[in-house]
Subunit: 209 residues, 2 copies
């Protein structure tokens, strides 16, 4: 059982209860789904009483939003890590970002749904949107490189969007069990690569050196 970061586990004062609650919630949500998740479970896992969280979060929703935000940030880090080792601005790098997206969904399906859900986030949707845009930005940058564009312009946006749409849909189909091995022996890598190639325009000669 891997102990968590910033574990002080001292006595009364916890050290980083806020952070621990987020990661406790993360684990529990993955295990029982966002509905099966209860505050007291999170408290039990963090080793505090049921009232303690309310020093750090105004409500259960507030905590859930934090978990979602955390997920979006990790998704971005994932995506970056995937693209980095590959030759930049290539189909492969773009496909790798997509693969990272789907893998995240597979690894943490409940969190993934939570991240893109609008409900359970009260008045903080705009905040989430902003973090989400940063994750999307990883793809935008890579596509810009592919297209040889020096900034995120309209062409980059229009090119990236169907790619996002595709992996987003693929993610949901996978985690919702629509791709059972019998009827859909889908090779995810192949699916992503095919769609990426099909949806990208031919790589232009570099004119703006």
């Amino acid at each position: 059982m891997a102990e968590n970061k910033t574990q002080k586990k001292a006595g009364y004062h916890h050290g980083d209860l806020r952070g621990q609650l987020v990661s406790a919630a993360r684990r529990l949500i993955e295990e029982h789904g966002p509905d099966g998740f209860t505050m007291s479970d999170a408290c039990k896992l963090a080793g505090v009483s049921t009232a303690a969280p309310y020093r750090h979060f105004s409500s259960k929703e507030d905590l859930l939003t934090e978990v979602a935000k955390d997920g979006l940030i990790r998704l971005r880090q994932d995506s970056e890590a995937r693209a980095q080792p590959l030759p930049r601005g290539t189909v492969e790098a773009i496909a790798a970002i997509g693969r990272g997206y789907v893998d995240f969904a597979i690894r943490e399906p409940h969190i993934f749904r939570l991240m893109f859900s609008t409900k359970s986030h009260a008045g903080r949707i705009e905040e989430l949107r902003s973090v989400g845009r940063q994750s999307y930005g990883v793809l935008l940058n890579e596509v810009a490189l592919y297209l040889g564009e020096s900034e995120i312009n309209d062409l980059v946006n229009r090119t990236s969007f169907p790619l996002w749409t595709h992996v987003h849909g693929l993610s949901f189909l996978v985690i919702d069990g629509k791709l059972d091995v019998n009827n859909f022996p889908v090779d995810i890598d192949e699916a992503i690569l095919f769609a990426t190639k099909s949806l990208l325009p031919p790589k232009p000669r570099l004119e703006k050196a």
Copy 2:
């Protein structure tokens, strides 16, 4: 306010309580989300006591599954109706099916999510899957026509899948508000048509007359 089909509204015996509960649930879920939906609300809407549903459904989940099933059937009818007036086996017909898919999601986002969710359906997932396959079949048939294939073979499957994936993802992005007009002035028709064209292979000369 359109009265529902099979409305008898007689006295004690209801006529078609089962059907009415499904459509009541449908309306309520669309209004308050699947979580905000309660049995007693459905009962109130159908004009019966809270115990009455249990003569027709074994549980709340059971009713929800029925609503989902109903949705999948209606989705299929929708898709068929969209493709029918258009020249068969064309890009346009295929795109129209996709558009129907997204429109359904927009029209009934909560039901749409419920239809593809795995939870809330207890032991009836296989049943739902089967109904879902029928909806997907509409696309498969159209793609088969496009490809000039006389049956649903592997090529048809492989060609159809990314199309489904794309509109599925698009649907979720739309209903989850990721395409706000400011940052994503996405023309849905255009998006679908572009993806459909990109993901379909060139139309083959018809050899099997």
